[in-house]
């Protein structure tokens, strides 16, 4: 439906502001604060648990806390990175709205960048990262429960859950990179649009 209204600005595809459907930055504007707060709380809880772990005397209890606490800390870091991703989406929204107001002030049709592949990919990649970290926290509790009854099973879990945590964080950094790449495209689009308007007026 939007293909009929597509135009070209430099190397990028553009569409009228009013033709944009899903408004990701509007969701991001509401979501970054809760994610930041939850992330800070999770990290603080992890740090306090680490201090409590240092005071425990029973080796089994120490091992059990050591099994799930990294999952809590990684989830906290992941939530903070999710908040950063949402803030980058907010910046994309500000660039879009600012560009729209500049074009309208010039009396031109307000065109916006058609969402590139990087812009479509970064929200699901971020969600995949957060889901992975949430799953590793749950698996950490399962590992802690098995330490008492089935230590070899717990050791098996410990062997793969650590790398999985890092995979979750890697996904979140990937989403940050994709969002930054989208910002780069957005800035290039804005420069191209100003150039296009100036060219049209100088003819």
């Amino acid at each position: 439906m939007t293909t009929a209204t597509l135009s070209r600005v430099g190397r990028d595809l553009a569409l009228p502001r009013e033709a944009e459907g899903f408004d990701m930055p509007a969701i991001a504007r509401r979501m970054w604060r809760p994610l930041l707060a939850m992330g800070l709380m999770a990290v603080a809880a992890g740090v306090v648990t680490g201090i409590v772990q240092a005071t425990l005397s029973t080796p089994l209890h120490v091992a059990q806390v050591a099994a799930w606490n990294p999952g809590l800390l990684f989830l906290g870091v992941g939530l903070l990175l999710g908040s950063v991703t949402f803030l980058l989406a907010t910046i994309l929204g500000e660039l879009r709205d600012g560009g729209t107001s500049v074009q309208k002030a010039l009396g031109e049709q307000a065109l916006i960048l058609k969402r590139p592949l990087t812009g479509k990919l970064f929200p699901p990649v971020m969600m995949m990262g957060l889901m992975t970290l949430l799953a590793t926290l749950v698996v950490g509790f399962v590992e802690a429960a098995r330490l008492d009854t089935n230590p070899s099973g717990a050791a098996d879990i410990a062997a793969w859950v650590g790398p999985l945590r890092f995979a979750g964080v890697a996904l979140l950094f990937t989403s940050v990179s994709l969002a930054l790449a989208t910002i780069v495209r957005s800035l290039r689009f804005q420069a191209g649009r100003i150039q296009q308007i100036a060219d049209q007026r100088s003819k």
């Binding site: 603080a44 240092a54 870091v77 950063v84 007026r201």
Partner: protein
């Protein structure tokens, strides 16, 4: 516009303060790590292996939070930039 400018400046200052905290945090972490490796006494140093990694992940958390604070400052600067361009560009082109 002045409010946006003030907010952006305040957030930049806050981000720098958080970065100061991060710097102190990782330096203290390194010091505790070396103290634990050197076999120094004291209950705090002896229990270091248990709490140092979580504490340093807390430092990473503060560092990421400072990134978030800087991004909120950037958001405000973009709004100011859009406002200035909307005002100035029509006058320049006409």
């Amino acid at each position: 516009m002045k409010d946006l400018d003030r907010e952006a400046s305040q957030r930049q200052t806050l981000a720098f303060a958080l970065l100061g905290l991060v710097t102190i945090g990782w330096m203290a972490g390194l010091a505790f790590g070396f103290a634990a490796a050197g076999g120094a006494g004291g209950s705090l140093v002896r229990t270091t292996p248990a709490w140092l990694s979580p504490a340093l992940q807390g430092v990473i958390g503060i560092a990421i939070a400072s990134v978030a604070v800087v991004l909120t400052a950037i958001t405000r600067r973009i709004r100011i930039r859009a406002h200035v361009l909307s005002e100035a560009l029509p006058r320049l082109l006409n």
